[in-house]
């Protein structure tokens, strides 16, 4: 790979080929194999430098992988099987346009949860979070990966919380989507009164949807406006638990149908214990034993208008639902308060993924279905685990209602020791295939699912290839991703 042309184009400190720097981009998941380390790291400072890099890559047949989070990189999103250069945007830290009235702000790709949360908190806003993201995780990257967030009633569409955005095509051409899709500068749009919150367009184009979920192979996002929410002024976090998932399921259906309650999670006791003890894994067994098999964590809140009364009537009405399905609402179980669980779930967990705390590594397998079918897929996973000699008490499950509970995201988490790698590798493949054979939907394909889902639906795969041809005709961005 001829890197001289890039070195000559960028300032000296924007290019690195040192081995120690390159090693930081290794995927920190032993199950992810076959990926190459980058040949160089480029750190452009602005859109113009980025555009030059992309245009040069097109001319010189270089391949680019875009990275926005800080190492360690736990997922295969940045994995590339071809010789490539990393373009690292983690230093792009702009947060602006923080707008309480319209509940929106703009972030660049390098902005992390740790950086955003205190800024919007001051303005009385919060952000629907994925489950305890690692510190250093790029918000833009998480949104583009459609990571499940925790506020189903406010999750109107799978695109949320992404509003408008700016990106570069694989050819380097600049584009903006939504109500930012106007040639005038951002400052001028704001002066006119445009918050750039509109999620669709321009015209009949929905290119932001093509980029979302593409793991970096359709375009390079350089900023996004994101939807924020009002912060409750008063809240309670209730715990409901049962050994029968069906009871939890009915409770969640009834509460979410009324659009009651705020942030909400469903865990099994294994996952909950992993989350609550990642700083003290020695407490894992004790915490796990404190809970029944399945737990729903339900926030109830008031905001600015008669907040106490809102909290009171919602608590009363939600309790009626709980009682109706045979569940009890508790603010604390086994010395763990619901508010502690919510705090752990919404706080970045530090450099190391909390899932790895128990045994050093964790297999994560995720899929999407409707809540009424969650139990069926847990059964399929259980059966596959049993065949592989893995006991039910060794793994956990997180069920996250999304898009107003029209579907749920399910993550199976199997902590394991490095010595068991080959066994777990075989299990990941067999479990994924078993789920796939039963029409599990892998919205965010990683691992084995990223290899097998494309044959399930050849027409969609063909269209995806056509869209790749449109957006990145020379296969400059993350080549090989999804077989493209």
């Amino acid at each position: 790979m001829n890197l001289d042309v890039l070195k000559n184009m960028l300032p000296q400190d924007a290019v690195s080929t040192s081995d120690s720097d390159l090693q930081a981009y290794k995927i920190n998941d032993p199950l992810a194999t076959g990926y190459m380390l980058p040949s160089a790291i480029l750190k452009p400072k602005n859109f113009e430098e980025l555009q030059k890099i992309i245009q040069t890559a097109n001319k010189e047949d270089l391949k680019l992988v875009i990275v926005s989070s800080v190492a360690p990189h736990n997922r295969e999103g940045i994995g590339c099987t071809e010789e490539h250069v990393v373009v690292d945007l983690s230093g792009w830290k702009l947060i602006d346009g923080v707008d309480r009235k319209n509940l929106v702000c703009r972030v660049e790709p390098g902005v992390t949860y740790d950086e955003l949360i205190p800024i919007i908190d001051k303005e009385g806003m919060i952000f629907p979070m994925p489950l305890a993201p690692k510190s250093g995780k790029s918000i833009v990257a998480a949104i583009l990966d459609r990571e499940a967030t925790n506020w189903p009633n406010h999750h109107w569409n799978s695109q949320d919380p992404l509003c408008s955005m700016e990106f570069a095509f694989g050819s380097g051409e600049q584009f903006r989507t939504g109500s930012a899709a106007n040639n005038v500068p951002v400052e001028q749009l704001r002066a006119l009164g445009i918050s750039m919150k509109g999620p669709n367009g321009p015209g009949s184009l929905g290119l932001q949807r093509i980029i979302q979920g593409s793991q970096g192979c359709m375009g390079v996002v350089t900023w996004a406006t994101i939807k924020l929410e009002m912060k409750p002024t008063i809240s309670k976090v209730m715990i409901l638990q049962s050994d029968n998932l069906r009871q939890i399921e009915q409770f969640v259906y009834d509460v979410d149908h009324h659009r009651w309650g705020e942030r909400q999670y469903i865990f099994d006791n294994h996952t909950l214990a992993m989350l609550m003890t990642y700083k003290n894994p020695g407490d894992f067994d004790k915490v796990k034993a404190s809970f029944k098999k399945y737990i729903c964590v339900q926030e109830i809140a008031g905001f600015h208008l008669f907040p106490e009364e809102r909290l009171e009537y919602q608590t009363r009405d939600i309790k009626k639902i709980a009682t109706g399905v045979g569940l009890k609402m508790e603010e604390e179980v086994g010395g763990i308060a619901g508010s502690d669980i919510l705090a752990a779930a919404t706080t970045p967990c530090g450099q190391t993924d909390w899932r790895k705390s128990l045994k050093g590594e964790c297999m994560s397998l995720h899929m999407q279905t409707t809540l009424d079918r969650a139990n069926e897929y847990i059964g399929i996973f259980n059966a596959a685990a049993s065949v592989a000699g893995i006991k039910r008490e060794e793994y956990g499950v997180h069920i996250q209602p999304i898009v107003q509970n029209s579907s749920v995201y399910i993550e199976f988490m199997l902590p394991y020791a490095a010595a068991d790698l080959e066994k777990i590798r075989a299990f990941e493949e067999s479990a994924t295939k078993a789920l796939n054979a039963n029409q599990a939907f892998f919205a965010r394909p990683y691992g084995t699912s990223a290899k097998i889902v494309w044959d399930n639906d050849p027409v969609s795969t063909k269209l995806m290839k056509q869209m790749k041809g449109l957006m990145d005709p020379n296969r400059v961005l993350c080549p090989g991703k999804f077989g493209l």
């Binding site: 569409n157 584009f175 109500s179 184009l205 949807r209 009002m230 029209s406 892998f442």
Partner: protein, 577 residues
């Protein structure tokens, strides 16, 4: 005029049967539309759409697929219409087979727990609503009325409606689409394509819905959508139509206004404000806490028009100035509670928001209470000090709240609730029979207010010259969406049809809309294919990218795509900029 050859006709008969092909010229002309059509370059009005080669009414996806495949082998093209109201549903070339989807009208499935429905193209919102209420769900309904296609509103065009704050915005309620692509392949996006069920269009990996749906859809010009999965909102009202105590629950207007009051967990609130700022302030506060089930801003002219039977009465009423002075800034909001406790909390919050914003909650027919009307005029126009304003505001509100509930109140609440739920058209097209609209960008409410202001600047000179009816200029109609996160307004107007002046005005006004784009507004309602070339250069050349998609997906020009990708020169567009 293009007529099918014997061979073409024979082939199509084989696919759909003789009875499902119409080729008589009068039948073909019945599908012609001018609304939102292309302005003529000479400024002499707008083009009427082309006479299609034939009207075909398929029943199955297989038939649609075979017709599409046949168009790939011949010079015929398809264009699709469901309940078609705008030019998007009409042919733009004479060798087009217009697919009228009226026989594909099934509600394929409805899932009350997951709040989703799968529909065919001609399942209308009213059809869906009649079934979904039984499952405590409600589909989004656009302002064309509940007779509009639920599928088309979500997949193919824009469309606004008053229940968007609780039921979502149509295109963003899409959870899946079955699409007969221009090359004849049949695709189902997302989970349906993987055989997993109709619950999301996004994934695996990219959300391919983005290839056909942006601010606008493909407007019938990129193949046929034969199924759509839609996410519904909650419904807290009665499950059956026609209950005695339900004011709006009947099939005919004359019945619903005669029946009893609204259910106890519902109210319909009309509120008025002294200014756009005060109205917007109330709007933000009531929606950010999800107090309202529906919301809309109706301009004074429309409010004057709605209850009157004829244009002469409207002229008299409008020229009295009463509506302009009282109803210049009016919101109509429905409140529903999932429980009685919730309803009461919401109503209390609503009342506070209105009061804090300096507004008045109205009831009944104000003209029956001239003293109150007189005091409201004083409140809004007499330049009172803040203290004087507050004192008079509270006094007026107390007097209104003390008024007895009359049959007219019940009738008005029932009629307005029905209108909100089903977007019953209050006779918008009646004056001059030539309504048109500008604006309608989906962003925040603030952005809608900005765009309305810009549209008023365009419109005012044409009103002065008489090309557009004098409707007070500020006819911005708007709604909140998704709990107030999004909002929009569009400015409706009425072209003068008495003389040539009006015919000349319409294309000029549409042309002037480009100034809004130049200032910073992005796509809005008329940003369809025929305006792409005009607007696209100010919006990152989206017209070029649209043509690139057309070129990739429809290499044989099997679809009549003017309403999607504009002028048919897409083959000349380079693929790599």
């Amino acid at each position: 005029m293009y007529n099918l050859t014997d061979e073409q006709r024979k082939k199509l008969v084989e696919i759909v049967g003789e009875e499902n092909i119409s080729t008589e010229p009068w039948q073909r002309d019945a599908y012609g539309i001018w609304f939102a059509s292309q302005p003529r370059p000479d400024g002499e009005g707008v083009y009427w759409t082309e006479r299609a080669a034939a009207i075909i009414t398929p029943r199955t996806v297989e038939q649609v697929q075979k017709i599409t495949q046949y168009c790939n082998e011949t010079d015929l093209m398809i264009h699709v219409t469901s309940t078609g109201q705008l030019v998007a549903g009409a042919a733009t070339f004479d060798h087009t087979l217009l697919l009228d989807m009226s026989r594909m009208d099934d509600i394929v499935s409805m899932d009350g727990e997951n709040m989703t429905v799968v529909v065919e193209p001609f399942a209308r919102s009213i059809d869906v609503q009649m079934q979904s209420w039984k499952k405590n769900c409600n589909p989004y309904v656009i302002s064309i009325g509940a007779v509009g296609s639920t599928l088309a509103a979500a997949t193919s065009h824009t469309g606004y409606g008053s229940i968007g704050t609780s039921c979502g915005y149509g295109p963003r309620t899409l959870l899946g689409v079955e699409w007969v692509m221009p090359d004849g392949d049949v695709i189902r996006f997302g989970s349906a394509g993987q055989g997993s069920g109709w619950f999301t269009a996004a994934g695996p990996g990219p959300d391919l819905l983005g290839s056909i749906r942006g601010f606008n859809g493909a407007m019938g010009g990129l193949g046929a959508y034969t199924k759509a999965a839609i996410k519904m909102g909650p419904w807290y009202g009665p499950s059956e139509i026609g209950g005695d105590e339900i004011a709006f629950g009947c099939k005919t207007p004359s019945n619903f206004i005669k029946k009893g009051g609204l259910p106890k967990n519902m109210s319909l609130n009309t509120t008025i404000y002294p200014s756009m700022e005060a109205m917007s302030d109330a709007h933000y506060h009531m929606h950010e806490e999800n107090i309202c089930y529906s919301g809309s801003r109706m301009p004074a002219f429309v409010l004057a028009m709605a209850p009157l039977k004829d244009n002469a009465s409207l002229v008299k009423e409008w020229e009295s100035g009463f509506h302009k002075k009282i109803y210049g800034y009016t919101l109509s909001n429905q409140i529903q509670g999932a429980s009685q406790d919730e309803y009461e909390w919401k109503q209390k919050c609503f009342n506070k928001v209105v009061s804090d914003a300096g507004g008045i909650r109205m009831r009944g027919v104000l003209k029956m209470y001239p003293k109150i009307a007189e005091d409201i005029m004083k409140l809004f126009h007499a330049g009172l000090s803040p203290d004087e304003y507050r004192t008079l505001q509270l006094d007026i509100q107390a007097r209104i709240d003390a008024l007895p509930v009359t049959p007219i109140d019940i009738m008005a609440a029932g009629a307005s609730t029905a209108a909100a739920l089903r977007n019953v058209d209050p006779g918008l097209a009646r004056p001059a029979s030539a309504m048109f609209t500008l604006g309608g960008n989906l962003d925040t409410w603030d952005a809608g207010v900005v765009q309305n202001k810009l549209t008023m600047e365009i419109k005012e000179p044409y009103v002065t010259k008489g090309g557009i009816l004098d409707d007070g200029v500020d006819t911005g109609c708007g709604n909140p969406y998704e709990g107030g996160h999004l909002g929009y307004t569009e400015n409706v107007f009425w072209v003068n049809r008495v003389n040539k002046n009006g015919a000349e005005t319409l294309p000029k006004a549409i042309g002037d809309a480009v100034t809004e784009i130049q200032k910073g507004i992005s796509s809005f309602t008329i940003s369809s294919g025929m305006n792409n070339e005009r607007f696209g250069p100010y919006e990152f050349d989206y017209q070029i990218w649209t043509k690139r998609i057309k070129k990739i997906l429809d290499p044989n020009d099997a679809c009549d795509s003017t309403t999607y990708s504009g002028s048919p020169d897409h083959k000349e567009v380079p693929m790599n900029g």
